[in-house]
Amino acid sequence: MNASSVMSTAQMNELATIWAIVQSRKAFPSVVVITGATPSDDTESIARGLATAAQSDGQRAGYLCLSASARSKTSSGTYASLSVIPSGSLRESFDVAISSWRSMYDIVIIDAGTSGVETLGLHAMRVGDGVVIAAYEDRKVVSADRRLARVLREIGASVIGVVMTGSAVATKPAAITEGRVALLPAVQTTK
């Protein structure tokens, strides 16, 4: 992701508002998970946007991307230090990492991607302090939407709300200035 790509002022203001809502709902330090029902819902933009908003608010923000789309981008080197985090057997190491991040940052933003298929993302939503659902505006309601809502209820996740995204966000992703928003190191795979 090109760091020079920036959001519009209106989008930044909207993200700041959303961040204020998130901040008002959860105590710090906290872990906020961003998820969506379909890949088009663009959880990545919301996650990075909220990290940016937190950083603008003077918070120490940590950002972890679990989504498949973001993971594929990591191979391009845009986001250093991010690696594929396997699910299942790594749950314990993930929990250890979360605990350490809580002590290191005021807020940790986790992009869980499409959580219906990301088992680790589901775990993150369960142990996280809040979940923000990203939904692409003006798209057809699919069965994945109802499945996501059902899963969130079943795991007892604390849902903060829904943020609608659009094509403008997808084409102009939020910029993250390195040094102010920490890109969390990869969780090492141990087999």
């Binding site: 909207e14 003006d138 939407d145 829904v162």
Partner: protein, 456 residues
């Protein structure tokens, strides 16, 4: 959400459907433009000559009641199936009749006897040839139909007349059978004489008149007989008196008795019985009274028949009784004859049937006359139509004009608009069958949580 926004969203969502419909519409438009778009049109002018001047409107009818073929009807001949078939054969075309019909335009304005026959084709030569050939076929077909219509009518009238004739023959046969079966029944109209014999009605009336006259005669005879009888009754004593008074012996004795009786009364009036001979006189008078009575009885014993007047009265009575008996017998005979005839006529069913047959025959005869009259008029109209109501080609087509906005363009434009409308409608309809994440209500109903922001 406004209608425009909704349509735009529907098109954005269902773009594939919209594209498919538009592609089909474009293909149809191209097909119409390439396949049915004629480029040239030629016109031939046809004139209907000798049309009745007052037939400028459709209310004109011939004397037979059949409307003639007017110029306004001529236009429909151009697209008649017979004309189209002949036209297709003449032109050597293989197009369907519907296609040919679309290339033909023939319409005449009201109050005009001129029909422009237009034919459109892809080439100028074909348009000119087609227009001329089509006009020839229209004229040919008109000449056929102008008399064919009357021929059909005439054939129909002849058929009806034959049927009526058969009916009349049947009625005549029935009447003949009735006349043979019931000879006393008047099968002819009242007042007519059939075969020199008077009808039963006339005979009946004559008999009734005779019977009335005879009845009056009998009444007169009865009155005469009664009068003579009364005369005899009254004349009997008078005749007897005349007979007694004409008896001389009786008159002599009576006169002597009258004298002696008068003498006796005279002497007795003196009041004394001392007159001599008085007793003897009394005895004489008494004796003479007995003699007178005996003489009277003797004179009366001859009876009134000896009186000429009385005998004449008796003769008159006998004659009256004879006449009365004779006339009474005649009257009885008349009454019997009348009863017999009335019994024959009194068979109402037969009389009614004959009357009904006669009425039916009269009706059939009237109908026959009407149809025959119409047939005559139709034949005259046919002759008139064949001679005067003809159609000629006024001006043949020599050139063809290029069509800028012919039917193909109009149809193609219509297809384009229809396709566009269909695409949008289908998009909106299909889009309406799905649920969309557009508003906070939908989001909250799906996820069960609030919409906290939007960065779209």
């Amino acid at each position: 959400m406004s209608l425009f926004t909704r349509v735009v969203d529907a098109v954005r969502h269902q773009w594939l459907v919209v594209m498919c419909v538009l592609l089909v519409g474009m293909a149809a438009t191209v097909f119409v433009l390439l396949g049915t778009h004629p480029k040239y049109t030629a016109t031939t002018t046809v004139l209907m000559v000798a049309e009745p001047p007052e037939s400028g409107n459709a209310s004109y009818t011939t004397s037979s009641g059949t409307k003639p073929l007017l110029s306004v009807d001529l236009a429909s001949l151009a697209t008649a199936t017979t004309v189209l078939l002949r036209f297709r054969q003449d032109m050597g075309l293989s197009d369907s009749l519907e296609t040919l019909q679309q290339r033909i335009h023939a319409r005449v304005s009201i109050d005009s006897s001129i029909l422009p026959v237009q034919y459109s084709a892809n080439s100028q030569e074909l348009a000119i040839k087609g227009s001329n050939v089509l006009s020839d076929e229209v004229v040919r077909f008109y000449r056929e139909t102008a008399t064919t219509r009357f021929d059909s009518l005439i054939a129909d009238f002849n058929s009806q007349l034959a049927k009526r004739r058969a009916e009349l023959t049947g009625f005549d046969g029935k009447l003949a059978v009735a006349a043979k079966t019931y000879p006393y029944i008047d099968v002819a109209a009242p007042g007519t004489v059939v075969n020199g014999t008077e009808s039963v009605y006339q005979r009946l009336i004559a008999l009734q008149i005779e019977r009335d006259a005879l009845r009056a005669t009998v009444n007169a005879d009865a009155a005469a007989a009664q009068s003579t009888s009364r005369l005899i009754t009254n004349a009997g004593p008078l005749a007897e008196r005349d007979v007694v008074n004409s008896d001389s012996a009786y008159l002599s004795v009576r006169d002597q008795y009258a004298k002696d009786f008068a003498q006796l009364k005279k002497l007795s009036s003196f009041g004394s019985n001392r007159y001599p001979g008085l007793d003897e006189l009394r005895a004489t008078v008494a004796r003479e009274a007995a003699i007178v009575s005996a003489a009277r009885q003797h004179a009366a014993s001859a009876g009134p028949v000896s009186n000429a007047t009385y005998v004449a009265a008796l003769d008159a009575q006998a004659n009256a009784n004879t006449t009365l008996a004779s006339d009474t017998a005649k009257l009885r005979s008349q009454n019997e004859e009348l009863s017999r005839l009335q019994a024959q006529i009194g068979q109402g069913r037969i009389s009614t049937d004959v009357g009904r047959i006669r009425r039916d025959r009269d009706s059939a005869e009237t109908a026959y006359a009407t149809i025959a009259d119409r047939l005559a008029k139709t034949i005259a109209d046919r002759a008139e139509a064949a001679s005067t109501g003809s159609v000629v080609i006024l001006d043949r087509a020599r050139f063809a004009t290029k069509n800028m906005f012919a039917g193909g363009i109009i149809i193609a434009t219509g297809i384009v608009f229809f396709t566009l409308w269909l695409a949008l409608t289908l998009a909106v309809m299909i889009d309406g069958t799905y649920e969309w994440l557009r508003d906070p209500q939908t989001v909250e109903s799906i996820y069960g949580t609030k919409l906290i922001g939007s960065i779209a």
